[in-house]
């Protein structure tokens, strides 16, 4: 009896192993880009484990925060890029939402009560307002690109305009000292894992289900691959475009709120060049810049690679003046590798 059971379990284990290796092979043949980015990510991680200072609690804690920050922005960016668009305004939306988070909690500044907190509304409502502001800017982007203005032009406009709005509203000033809820959520952690990391994981699950299991998700891919075919199949270009930009705006709003809480400051100067990091993460992941192919599961390794690569340069003591060149080289290497690996 026991022997039979043993044999059976052996066989089922073999079948399991066989299935696993088969899936593995399949995924390499069918999704070489995904395989490539995970492979590079893995080797980068193993390499970095050997560098003193990497595997310390402080360093990893900071990295997790960086991942959440870039991750939220890049997830939205991925959806936009899948539709064949591009969102240059994320850095500015971050600045607007970050500074507004501070501003809404020091509303009294208008009336001269400087230095003490005066909330425009309860803190949870402020959070919703901030997300709403992000979504509103996204809606603007989505509407303009949905009626046929090139995405690049539209978001270039909002990139400049929204940054301007952030400066204009705050007068270019920082606001220090935020409310307890904002501070606690943004800074708090379970063990050494920040709360906001779980927020990212939830967003990730939500968006990855959204992109492959809903009609809107399928429409996003269809529009990215061929807008004419999508239109002739009854898919609304305007609706889909507005949807992705609104999602992108809301996620950036969330990142802005978290950033404000973590810095305990509302700052209109944050997020300069953020759009470039997010686009780089999306490209490194393997999402097609012309649209129609990719997904958040591609972008996440892209985000991790960028964050780790920056950390690597810090740990090796590369000057901050030189780090951008490092990112550029990384991007170049990935683009070349992707060209070689792309399925013919």
């Amino acid at each position: 009896m026991r022997i039979i059971f043993f044999k059976k379990s052996c066989i089922s284990f073999k079948v399991f192993l066989g299935k696993f290796t088969k899936n593995f092979k399949m995924s390499f043949r069918e999704k070489p880009l995904l395989f490539l980015s995970y492979f590079i990510l893995g080797s980068l991680f193993i390499w970095m484990c050997g560098i003193p200072g990497f595997l310390t609690v402080e360093n990893l804690y900071i990295l997790l925060h960086r991942i959440v920050h870039l991750g939220l922005v890049s997830i939205g960016m991925t959806l936009v890029i899948i539709t064949g668009g591009i969102d240059l305004s994320v850095g500015s939306i971050l600045a607007l939402t970050c500074s507004l988070t501070g501003y809404f909690q020091h509303w009294g500044t208008w009336y001269g009560y400087i230095g003490q907190g005066s909330f425009i509304a309860p803190e949870p409502v402020i959070l919703l307002m901030i997300l709403g502001v992000g979504g509103l800017v996204g809606m603007l982007n989505g509407f303009a690109s949905g009626i046929g203005i090139p995405d690049f032009a539209v978001t270039l406009g909002t990139m400049i305009g929204i940054r301007g709005a952030a400066y204009a509203i705050t007068g270019g000033m920082k606001t220090f000292g935020l409310g307890p809820m904002t501070n606690n959520i943004a800074k708090g952690s379970i063990g050494n894992v920040p709360y906001v990391f779980f927020v990212l994981v939830m967003v990730l699950i939500f968006i990855s289900v959204f992109e492959r299991k809903t009609a809107m998700g399928k429409s996003i891919y269809a529009i990215g691959e061929n807008p004419r075919v999508a239109k002739l199949s009854g898919i609304s270009y305007l609706k889909t475009k507005m949807m992705v930009y609104i999602i992108s705006g809301i996620l950036v709003g969330m990142a802005g709120w978290i950033l404000a809480g973590r810095l305990d400051t509302g700052d209109p100067k944050v997020g300069v060049g953020l759009e470039l990091d997010a686009i780089a993460a999306v490209i490194i992941g393997g999402t097609n810049l012309y649209g129609g192919f990719g997904g958040v599961e591609y972008t996440i390794p892209g985000v991790l690679i960028i964050v780790l690569a920056r950390n690597l340069m810090v740990l090796y003591g590369v000057s901050s003046n030189v780090r951008l060149i490092g990112i550029a080289l990384l991007l170049l290497v990935f683009l070349i590798l992707q060209r070689l690996f792309r399925r013919k």
Partner: protein, 497 residues
């Protein structure tokens, strides 16, 4: 070997999974028009690609003008004098005809382009081919056939010896073809070798000297046209004995149903004038007209892709307004485009994704798409239509042209009770053509099918009713019977004989 202009011996071409060519011998002489026939996927395009150097054969030798070709690349083939004229033509639209002909090697004089010499030479070549085109017109003003002819003239000016035409007839109208044939014959008189790829048997009767048929990667026929019967050629292409001819005209087993669609006084700018048509269920309608007669615009109006300037559309007796394709889809109109790759299918997506694209509502659960429902629907379509390979996850760009066409049809069957099919048999070989016609006959039950063909033969073969359009006006609107005269209909459509 000296006898033939171009000769291929024992050519094999193997791809990862399939063998496209098996031991093919092929030759063309100067002063000869050799027609190359075969089903979609028989290996015609592979053979042409080898001749033009796009790909190299796995095994086999190629000789051109008696010399063995060692390196297979397009530049080499081009320099030796092999010129391929694909369906999509590569002319610079903003340059004039003469500039296009001499692009890349403009005649110079003291470092400045010598326009006079260029014009003179262009004129000489065009005249030698009996082409009546002014070398100073800009390329974008040319018609399709003129573009083809300019490409031919360009190739001659580059001293090409062998011309390969890849299905030119599928993009030219009947009138244009006649002009085209004249120039091809002139080319033959000049001593050039010509390979002419086509689907149409009627065409080879007019133009070919010799016929080569490929089937499943093997050469099955290679003989002079005068030694052969048309039936034999057809049999050798399909590999089957021909059964009965296409549907006998007028055999309506399914009875005419209720009035489904009514067009009342439709005007569209200056293209359509006062169109009044009624469409009944269970019927296949054929709307035929020449290019520019407004037949495609009428189809688009029905689908909602274009808004009529004036007029009413009634579906099921209800007056409706179609503002966009999604309105059309909500009212049960399906629109199968002729530009399969550009407007019809998402090529990098799976069969399943393409089929459910217009009917998300049908496969939706409460929030998410229900993968069981999707599978059920997609496999139902695959079985019904006979898509091969029958696997929902296969990318559409891996399918053959005929199967892509079937996917395109399958996309609309779920929601479309009024199907507008623009040129459903475009670019299909004889066998697939028949299958598609059979499918359309099969699916007319409970639907209105409106076919807008480019060839009237196809339209007559699959329809119960014919509408002839000429300059935006309905010239004829009657049932197809055994007495229906094709010639008369063509005359009404404005074709001159």
């Amino acid at each position: 070997m000296q006898d033939h202009l171009c000769e291929l011996k024992g050519i094999y071409k193997e791809y990862a999974a399939t063998t496209a060519l098996k031991n093919v011998d092929f030759h063309v002489d100067g002063k000869e028009i050799c027609a190359l026939l075969g089903k979609n996927g028989a290996g015609k395009s592979t053979l042409i690609k080898i001749i033009s150097g796009v790909i190299s054969p796995t095994k086999g030798e190629m000789y051109f003008k008696g010399k063995q070709v060692k390196a297979f690349n397009t530049k080499n083939a081009f320099e030796q004098g092999i010129s391929v004229l694909y369906q999509e033509l590569h002319l610079f639209p903003n340059l004039t005809v003469k500039e296009n002909m001499f692009a890349g090697r403009l005649p110079m004089k003291n470092g400045i382009v010598n326009y006079e010499r260029m014009k003179e030479e262009a004129q000489k070549i065009l005249e030698s081919l009996h082409i009546k085109i002014d070398p100073d017109t800009s390329a974008e003003q040319l018609s399709t056939v003129e573009k083809q002819l300019v490409s031919v003239a360009t190739a001659i000016s580059r001293k090409a010896e062998l011309f390969v035409f890849d299905e030119p007839s599928s993009i030219l109208s009947m009138k244009e073809l006649r002009v085209f044939y004249k120039s091809i014959r002139k080319l033959k008189e000049m001593g050039k070798g010509i390979i002419y790829v086509t689907h149409s048997l009627e065409e080879i009767q007019v133009i070919a000297d010799r016929v080569v048929v490929l089937r499943d990667g093997m050469k099955v026929v290679d003989d002079l046209l005068k030694n052969m019967k048309m039936e034999d050629i057809e049999t050798s292409i399909t590999g089957k004995r021909k059964k009965d001819k296409v549907r006998k005209i007028g055999n309506a087993i399914i009875k005419k149903g209720k009035l489904k669609v009514e067009l009342k006084n439709i005007w569209f700018r200056s293209v359509l004038e006062d169109i009044n048509l009624k469409f009944y269920e269970n019927m296949v309608y054929c709307i035929y007209g020449l290019e520019g007669s407004g037949k495609k615009i009428l189809g688009k109006i029905l689908f909602g892709d274009l808004k009529p300037t004036k007029g009413k559309i009634k579906i099921d007796g209800k007056l409706i307004r179609l503002k966009s394709p999604s309105d059309g889809i909500h009212n049960g109109v399906g629109y199968m485009v002729d530009e399969r790759a550009n407007e019809g299918l998402l090529l990098n997506k799976s069969i399943s994704d393409n089929i459910i694209l217009p009917c998300f509502e049908k496969v939706k659960g409460k929030i998410f798409l229900d993968s069981k429902k999707i599978d059920k629907l997609v496999y139902k379509r695959i079985d019904e239509i006979g898509i091969f390979p029958p696997k929902a996850s296969i990318m559409v760009n891996e399918l053959s042209g005929g199967n892509q066409q079937k996917v395109l049809l399958g996309k609309w069957l779920e929601i479309g009770f009024i199907l507008v099919l623009v040129d459903p048999t475009r670019g299909l070989d004889i066998e697939t053509n028949r299958k598609v016609i059979d499918l359309i006959r099969k699916f007319r039950k409970g639907r209105v099918i409106i076919v807008i063909p480019s060839e009237i033969e196809d339209g007559l073969a699959m329809s119960d009713w014919i509408v002839i359009l000429h300059d935006g006006k309905v010239m004829k609107n009657e049932e197809i019977t055994a007495k229906t005269n094709k010639r008369e209909l063509l005359k009404l459509a404005g074709l001159e004989f």
